[in-house]
């Protein structure tokens, strides 16, 4: 990625971020806010109140045409044809060899599938899907839509203050949604697509809004006492604490889903059908026959281990790699994700990381590092 700011694209809210004093950095080809008041304060605010994230760099796509869910199943392991209207599924876009090309959210809107993919990979994803999907399936890139994420224990209380109406009389309001449900709404006659989802481990919403209205919505939200704008820095530390893998770091085309510890992304039906890209190679590892696995690490002491640091054995041989690492503001200690040999992947196993010639003791930890705080539908 170039850090020549002239080549960077601007988000619809770029000026607004700068006006709030954000420090802007290049990310996924865009100039994006990395922090406003500071990563630690923003992180803690999101865990205790509600944070507003501009994630308009992410790709919003509509997939339509007869049998589009079945068609998308050819390149994902998710049970998308069984996804009910208004429901969301997290799944993976798989290459023909089973390597992970992206992770994505798929919503059945009742009329089509709405996909949210990563910003850095969206153009490659679109090209791949267009090449793989039958001609009668239409893929629209919603380039005129912005995306905001409102995350935190007070996200519901805050959103309820905005007088967002159901799209049709009698339909639900946003706070009626449970985790991984979505629907259409109106805010001052502006159409919003709202999902109860996110990537921080907290309750919250992701709001798709026409780009020309995103600033008004961001202002209305941040005017609420519960809500502050949050940058990419805290987004990363929040998702790390929540044990959520980040594409391009914890997942790459060289990694298969079982290695990435994403077994939950396969449904039983799709495993039995075995009819997705790379299925033979991917399912040969299921559920625990891969040689390596992504695990969580608690790091001894105060010094974080960082992405790219080696996992070593007692003789100093490299046997794995750290894929994400940082300091947990909530736990006040360093945590990480790493690829380690399967036989060293059990919780409690001692692991050594070598970083700048220094050996740092770690222990395999359960993920998430903090319990998720989702607004799940009660089980009957």
């Amino acid at each position: 990625m170039s850090d020549n700011t002239e080549s960077l694209k601007q988000l619809p809210l770029g000026e607004w971020h700068r006006g709030l004093g954000a420090r802007m950095v290049p990310f996924a080809g865009y100039e994006m806010p990395v922090q406003y008041e500071g990563v630690m304060a923003e992180h803690i605010w999101t865990r205790t109140e509600a944070g507003l994230f501009d994630v308009s760099h992410m790709g919003q796509l509509n997939l339509s045409g007869d049998g589009c869910a079945e068609a998308l199943e050819a390149i994902t392991p998710g049970n998308l044809s069984a996804l009910g209207a208004g429901k969301i599924r997290y799944t993976l876009l798989l290459a023909q060899d089973g390597g992970i090309l992206d992770d994505l959210m798929v919503t059945n809107t009742g009329r089509n599938l709405y996909l949210v993919v990563n910003g850095a990979t969206k153009h490659d994803d679109i090209a791949y899907m267009q090449a793989q999907l039958p001609d009668h399936i239409t893929l629209d890139h919603l380039e005129d839509a912005a995306l905001l994420a409102l995350q935190g224990p007070k996200a519901g209380v805050a959103l309820a203050k905005l007088n967002i109406k159901p799209f049709e009389a009698g339909w639900p309001v946003p706070t009626d949604l449970y985790f991984m449900e979505a629907g259409p709404f109106l805010w001052n006659d502006v159409p919003l697509g709202i999902s109860r989802s996110g990537y921080t481990g907290e309750d919250g919403f992701e709001i798709s809004v026409p780009a020309e209205h995103v600033e008004a919505l961001a202002i209305a939200l941040t005017d609420l006492e519960e809500v502050r704008p949050i940058g990419l820095g805290a987004r990363d530390s929040l998702r790390l604490e929540a044990g959520l893998p980040l594409y391009g770091h914890d997942m790459t085309p060289d990694v298969l889903p079982v290695e990435a510890n994403l077994n939950f992304a396969f449904s039983k039906v799709r495993r039995e059908e075995g009819n997705f890209a790379g299925a033979e190679r991917v399912l040969a590892q299921y559920p625990d026959k891969a040689e390596t696995k992504r695990v969580g690490l608690f790091v001894d002491g105060r010094q974080p281990v960082r992405e790219g640091a080696d996992v070593v054995d007692n003789s100093g041989n490299v046997i794995g790699k750290v894929s994400s690492g940082g300091f947990s503001p909530t736990l006040q200690r360093p945590i990480a994700m790493a690829y380690v040999p399967m036989e060293l992947s059990a919780t409690g196993t001692a692991i050594t990381v070598q970083q700048r010639k220094k050996q740092i003791a770690c222990t395999v930890a359960d993920m998430p590092f903090l319990p998720h705080n989702y607004h799940r539908k009660p089980k009957i």
Binding site: G38, V39, M40, S237, Q303, P304, R306, G326, F327
Partner: protein
């Protein structure tokens, strides 16, 4: 006592043959919340430009280079318990280490406060 600055945003206080070294207010502001400082070993001999310390924020690690050559004679042990001292008092209580100066001529490569202020204004 004279204070010098480097383009890598370190400050160097010189008193006789001894230098006290830390990172500048500008540097701590850029780094954000500092969660760990790896100081050099007492007794280590550093050449100007060597890796001397590592400063870790929530998100990233940054190297601190030896601003001057010399032997490390003391490190700021308070940073072990309270790395955020670098945020709250970068140019005083948040100092990193003291070293003997083995080559005073190196100081002529460094900036004075006025030159450093002009330098950061142009960043």
């Amino acid at each position: 006592m004279s204070r010098y600055f480097t383009e890598e945003h370190e400050w160097v206080d010189v008193e006789g043959d001894t230098a006290t070294i830390g990172i500048t207010e500008y540097a701590q502001e850029q780094l954000g919340d500092i969660v760990f400082v790896e100081t050099p070993e007492v007794g280590a001999t550093l050449e100007q430009g060597d890796d001397a310390a590592v400063v870790e924020s929530v998100k990233a690690a940054s190297d601190v280079y030896a601003a001057v050559s010399g032997e490390v004679i003391e490190v700021n042990e308070a940073l072990e318990e309270e790395p955020a001292l670098v945020n709250s008092s970068a140019e005083e209580d948040g100092w990193f280490y003291r070293a003997t100066l083995s080559d005073k001529d190196e100081l002529s490569d460094l900036m004075d406060e006025k030159a450093y202020k002009a330098f950061i204004e142009n960043l």
